[in-house]
Amino acid sequence: MLAQDKSSLQRTPLHGLHVARGGKMVPFAGYEMPVQFPAGVLKEHLHTRSAAGLFDVSHMGQLALRPKSGKVEDAALALERLVPQDIVAVAPGRQRYAQFTNEDGGILDDLMVANFGDHLFLVVNAACKAEDEAHLRAHLSDTCIIDSLADRGLIALQGPKAEQALAKLGADVSAMRFMDTGPRQVAGLDCFVSRSGYTGEDGFEISVPAAQAEALVTMLLENPEVLPIGLGARDSLRLEAGLCLYGHDLDTTTTPVEGALEWSVQKSRRTGGARAGGFPGADKVLSQFEKGASRRRVGLRAEGRAPVREGALLFADAASSEAVGKVTSGGFGPSLNAPVAMGYLPTSLSANGTLVFAEVRGQRLPLQVAAMPFVPNTYKR
């Protein structure tokens, strides 16, 4: 058992529902969260890929960035001082993946940024939300009002039956494409709905007033296609989808280039672009775009059945004594019925198909650098 005293943990608006549904509650990022439900991690994972899984992600931070000028471009320009993404180009009703960087180009947190027409809506990681909010206040208070939307719950509905499940509650989301977002009614409740998620599946993330979160989830769970899913399957789903977990695959020592997130940095912010640089650590990050970085995040597939987990050291061959890298996320992929991992390797060893070895319980297990996602995503583009 973890030593942390449960009484010091926060609860989401769905806590009572989790306990009533048999959720096994564990401490996570300062919250008491369900790691699994009675179905178990394996079934929860597979159910999300074949039907629909419902996740409580209310522990994540939701923030509104309101421009004092009333013009959303001003909030976008202000936020670009803290992230290497093109925020100005995010059209109303769209969202984009971003990272807060530090002066060394390391990542302070990763987040979603949505354009809600007259303001930006941000979703940040639970473990970082207090620091993120302070960071925004320290740097953007001149142009923006920063509202913490702590009175809202957040759920994710993921999988091929997600759209249908929302339609049953009167939410017409069929016209939404991947990364479309905005205020929408679901079952008559004032929600923010985005077509996005953290599983590689088509699906939605729904922000709902905290007081109505339980009512909404209860209605969704009345649908036999929808099962509640815990953090265990959330992790195995995102790992198969090749998606990073902040604090593990990304942290203050990894840059967007080292993290293989070049795709998330638009040309306008790179050297020669209209608004090149201008974010913390830009010199280092932009130089890495030109010259490359010394290490890189890669996907890893094991040849055997033994899962290779976070922290396992990586070696260039079966006998060498010097580790060349480390696994940052690893486990068993239920959809692949095989172990999957990601980690950092020297760029010279980062090409797909490269053979490396992980040390597990004193043995060197062969792994191959492999393309991600491990399981193809089913986003509705």
């Binding site: 699994q36 178990g40 991690v41 059945r305 987990r309 319980r361």
Partner: protein, 121 residues
């Protein structure tokens, strides 16, 4: 034939000087879906409390400790092919390994079924 239990949620079935060892149903329910089992090599000499096997769920790896000292005389190869047996039949088909008991006095420190039931209650 006697069945004994450890506080680490292993069971031992004693037949003569051989102990068959597995994990309890309570242990498998705590582990969740088992996806990998690593067994000791036949012929290996284990000391009491030494890590003998590994059982992995989707989420985590757990050690299985030798509940008593002895030499490994047989391992359950079926578990390598079908790790989920641990979930479906922890107390039966999913035995892990058999030990030739080195010192029968070590059995004295183990629990009987009633004591184990009280331990997990």
């Amino acid at each position: 034939m006697t069945t004994l239990f450890t506080s680490d949620h292993e069971w031992l079935r004693i037949e003569g000087d051989v102990a068959t060892i597995g994990v309890t149903d309570y242990a498998q329910s705590q582990l969740g879906d088992v996806v990998f089992v690593e067994l000791p090599k036949v012929g290996r000499s284990l000391k009491k409390a030494e890590a003998a096997a590994v059982v992995e769920s989707v989420k985590a790896a757990s050690d299985v400790y030798a509940p008593i000292s002895g030499e490994v005389v047989e391992v359950n190869e079926a578990l390598a092919a079908e790790p989920a047996l641990v979930n479906s039949d922890a107390g039966g088909k999913a035995w892990f390994f058999k030990l030739k008991i080195a010192d029968k006095s070590e059995l004295g420190g183990l629990m009987d079924e009633a004591a184990y039931k009280a331990h997990t209650a």
